[in-house]
Every structure is written in structure tokens, then in C-alpha cells.
């Protein structure tokens, strides 16, 4: 076990994330949520802390951060503003694809240096009209003419599309390629246009500002990320997504737990000697939260170790690892809703009110996004299929 994994939640970067969370993200979280507006202040603070290039290797100017430490940052941010944490996590998933698969290319090495310098925010376009949310299928194809590309995509949703500097886009390798034969293309600001096709007025995660857009772009062929998306998806995009998301969901659940615990303590202080009845429910909640935390930490540590060696990276392509990722996502997205719901039962009307310090409305609304983003039913169906051949021996 690496030393960073044991104490990542107490490390310097997590402390920095807590400071940004409490001093900036928390201050604007209610307004971001109410007005479904992008969390500009907290993203600016994360840029100022140079955290948008955290994953870039040290030799290219970044921090060379790995999964465990980054997950701890997502958990910290999730405790203050889930939209901020989700934007941060989604950006890092794109950076991870670039630093883990693109550094054989001089273009992408140069891009990483620029990312460090300018703290660019990268968005993702995977969803598509006619496909929906299945990231491993595309209808659109990149067209290459000499050393130039043209790529257009009708996306059902682009998270913070209007606020991203650059966009990493999945598409078919060429016009003759199968739907699942995909590559990723980095489109730079100035090379693309976005025409908004729908609104983002949602139950929760309102600050991620993720409506649909028609995306049109043209650029240089070197901006196509080397390798197959099939591999970068299994080895990087899926593990980073599910682990960082689970990390931030753990943050939402932890904050719900903190509010419930503060409520119970206040009740206990009013009548020392009597354990308030809500304390029993709090004990139950603490139990669920611990399972969730252990799961996130275990899988993040496993994944970091595997990503470190060639043999490990090979094993990220196995069905066994894919099942582990699926189980983490399903488990955390489900447990989080349970934790927030129980916290609400503990806080009662004080949790139900929007203007109380025990308020849990935003947590509950944000929490319900988790089972829908890459729908758990879709994930269960994939696991069911994989279990027909997986032996777990």
C-alpha cells in the first residue's frame, strides 16, 4: 500500500480542497443550485490552486497526482457543492484520458504544458442523439482530409458545455467504421461552435449546466487522441468516472451525516443523560457511510496500483475489473441516497426546510442524479451479461 493512500483524506491537497470548499464553494452553493448557474467562483479557485492540471506529470509542469489523492479532493469538494465537485471530477476524467493515452504524441505533450499554464477546463461529449448515453457507441465519425479533421456531433447533453475551454469528443474512427470502433478528438476553443438545443432545468446537479448542443468543429488531425477509445475507456475513462464520482457522492453523504450528527448532538445537549431516539438511526447511518467509504477507498487504491504497471494496466481490460467498477458505481449511487434520506429522517422538519443549517433538500436532489447518470439498470444489464462468462476464481 502506498503511503499516499492511507492518509489521502488528511493530505495537503485534501486540506486545500476543504479550504476552497468551505471558503468559496459552500458560500455560493445555494445560489448555484437555485439559479442552475455554473459555479464560476469555485472553479476559478480550483484554477488558482493549479488543481485543474493535478494529473499532468511533474515533468510537464503538473502535480503528477494519482487516483487516491484525486478521489480525496472530490470527496472534500462534494461536502460543500456537489456541482463544483462534479465539474471538477468530469474535467479530471478528460485529463486522465489525455495523460494516460496521449503522451506518446508531441501535440498532446504540448497541450498538457498549456493546460498547466492556462488551467484550461475540458468538457466531454460522449452522449449523442440516436445513441443516448451509451458511451461505447457513436454515430458521428471524424472525417480526415490530409492533416485536417472535421467532426460534427448532435449531443443530448454536454456538461458545462458553454463553460468549457476545450472539448474531448468520442466519435467513430472514420465514416466506414462500426459504431463501437471509436476514437477521441480534442477540439480547442475557437475550433468549435455549439448551438444549444435544450435546457438544463433539473431536479439536482443544477450547477453542472448540461443541456444538449449541436457541436461542429474542424482542426488538425494530430488532435485525435492516439489509440482506440475502447482501451482508453476501459483503462481510464470508466475507472476514473466511477471512482471520482463515487468519491464525490461519498462527500455528499458525509455532509448529510455531519448535519444529522450535529442535530442529534444538539438534542443530546438539551437533555444530558438521555440518548435521543434519533441517535440510534445515526448509528445506523454511520454504519452505511463506513461501507461506502471503505468501498471507495479500496477500489481507488486498487486501481491506482494497477494503473502503475504494464501488467496492471492489462488487467484493467478484464471482465473482472469491469464488474468491480460497475459494482462500485451501483453501490455508492444507491447508498448515498439511503444515507441522505436517513439523515433527513433524523433532522425532520429542520432538514426539510431550505433555510435551515440542517437543510438536506439540495443533498437529496443532487443524490438522485447518481443512479441516472449512466443508468444503474444499464450497468446491471452489462454486469448480468458479463457474469455469464465470469467465474470469479
Amino acid at each position: 500500500m502506498s503511503s499516499s493512500s492511507r492518509d489521502a483524506s488528511q493530505g495537503a491537497s485534501a486540506k486545500l480542497a476543504h479550504r476552497i470548499g468551505s471558503e468559496v464553494a459552500a458560500v455560493h452553493a445555494a445560489d448555484v443550485d437555485r439559479n442552475a448557474r455554473f459555479p464560476v467562483e469555485s472553479i476559478a479557485a480550483l484554477k488558482e490552486a493549479r488543481l485543474l492540471s493535478a494529473l499532468v506529470p511533474v515533468e510537464l509542469g503538473g502535480m503528477g497526482m494519482k487516483m487516491v489523492e484525486l478521489t480525496a479532493i472530490c470527496t472534500a469538494l462534494g461536502q460543500y457543492c456537489a456541482a463544483t465537485a462534479m465539474v471538477f471530477a468530469m474535467h479530471q476524467i478528460q485529463v486522465a484520458c489525455i495523460v494516460r493515452h496521449g503522451l506518446g504524441s508531441e501535440y498532446f505533450r504540448g497541450y498538457c504544458r498549456e493546460l498547466v499554464e492556462r488551467q484550461l477546463l475540458i468538457g466531454s461529449i460522449t452522449s449523442e442523439v440516436g445513441i443516448g448515453g451509451d458511451t461505447r457507441s457513436s454515430l458521428c465519425a471524424v472525417e480526415i482530409d490530409g492533416d485536417a479533421f472535421v467532426l460534427n456531433k448532435d449531443a443530448t447533453t454536454i456538461s458545462y458545455g458553454a463553460h468549457a475551454d476545450d472539448l474531448l469528443v468520442t466519435c467513430r474512427r472514420d465514416a466506414g467504421a462500426a459504431r463501437s470502433d471509436q476514437v477521441m478528438v480534442l477540439a480547442r476553443r475557437g475550433q468549435f461552435t455549439l448551438e444549444q438545443t435544450s435546457q438544463w432545468d433539473t431536479l439536482g446537479m443544477r450547477g453542472t449546466c448540461s443541456p444538449g448542443f449541436k457541436f461542429r468543429s474542424a482542426g488538425a488531425a494530430v488532435q485525435i487522441l492516439p489509440g482506440d477509445y475502447a482501451d482508453s475507456s476501459s483503462q481510464t475513462m470508466v475507472p476514473y468516472s466511477h471512482i471520482l464520482w463515487s468519491g464525490l457522492w461519498l462527500g455528499i453523504a458525509s455532509d448529510a451525516m455531519s448535519r444529522a450528527a450535529a442535530f442529534v448532538r444538539a438534542a443530546a445537549r438539551r437533555d444530558p443523560g438521555t440518548v435521543p431516539p434519533t441517535a440510534l438511526r445515526l448509528a445506523e447511518l454511520s454504519n452505511t457511510l463506513q461501507s461506502m467509504r471503505s468501498n471507495v477507498h479500496d477500489v481507488a487504491r486498487d486501481c491506482e496500483e494497477l494503473q502503475d504497471t504494464e501488467e496492471g494496466n492489462e488487467s484493467l481490460l478484464t471482465i473482472g475489473f469491469a464488474l468491480k467498477m460497475n459494482n462500485l458505481k451501483i453501490s455508492c449511487s444507491t447508498l448515498m441516497v439511503q444515507v441522505v434520506h436517513e439523515a433527513l429522517l433524523i433532522c425532520g422538519i429542520m432538514g426539510y426546510k431550505n433555510d435551515s443549517k440542517f437543510s438536506l433538500g439540495r443533498h437529496l436532489r443532487d443524490a438522485h442524479s447518481a443512479q441516472l447518470m449512466v443508468g444503474n439498470d444499464r450497468i446491471y444489464a452489462r454486469s448480468a451479461s458479463m457474469l455469464l462468462v465470469y467465474k470469479d476464481t
Binding site: R136, S137, R173, A177, A178, R179, S180, D181, D228, A230, D231, S234, E314, S315, L317, T318, I319, G320, R382, S385, M386, L388, V389, Y390, K391, D392, T393
Partner: protein
């Protein structure tokens, strides 16, 4: 006809029946990339199941990854290893 040829033919037939490829498996080169030919991860599970049934084998978990099912020849190698 050698055993290797038989195995190759059986693999082609299974790909034709379960691979949902965009091209005819009969005309695919041994080294052709099956994923570029349209094999999805979902279809590859059906191919694995059909291979296990046909050859009365069980692919160990270490073999359950993209690379092993990426071409007719890589599948043949795996089958031969398990039937040896």
C-alpha cells in the same frame, strides 16, 4: 483438414452466428480486428458463451479481456491452449 483449420472454421461460424459483425465472418482474415469489424463487448460475451459450449471449455478469468477476442487467430490460440 488439420484440427487448427477445423477450429478456425468453428470460430468463423460462431462469429457469424453470434458476433453481429458488420462484415461476413467467412471472408475475414485470421488477423483482422474483430472490434473494427463491429464486434461489441455485449456480442463478445455471446461469442465467448458459444465457444465455451462448442469446445466444452471454460475461459479462465485472465482470458476474459478484449485482446483475447480481438481476432480469429487470437481466439484460436486461446481455444488451443484450453483444449491442449
Amino acid at each position: 483438414m488439420s484440427t487448427t483449420d477445423n477450429i478456425r472454421d468453428d470460430i468463423r461460424q460462431i462469429l457469424k452466428d453470434h458476433g453481429r459483425l458488420s462484415t461476413d465472418a467467412a471472408g475475414l482474415a485470421d488477423e483482422a480486428d474483430l472490434y473494427q469489424a463491429g464486434l461489441t463487448s455485449h456480442a463478445s460475451v455471446n461469442v465467448m458463451l458459444a465457444l465455451e459450449g462448442k469446445f466444452d471449455i471454460e475461459f479462465p478469468d485472465r482470458m476474459l479481456k478484449r485482446g483475447v477476442f480481438g481476432s480469429i487467430s487470437s481466439i484460436r490460440e486461446a481455444v488451443e491452449e484450453l483444449t491442449a
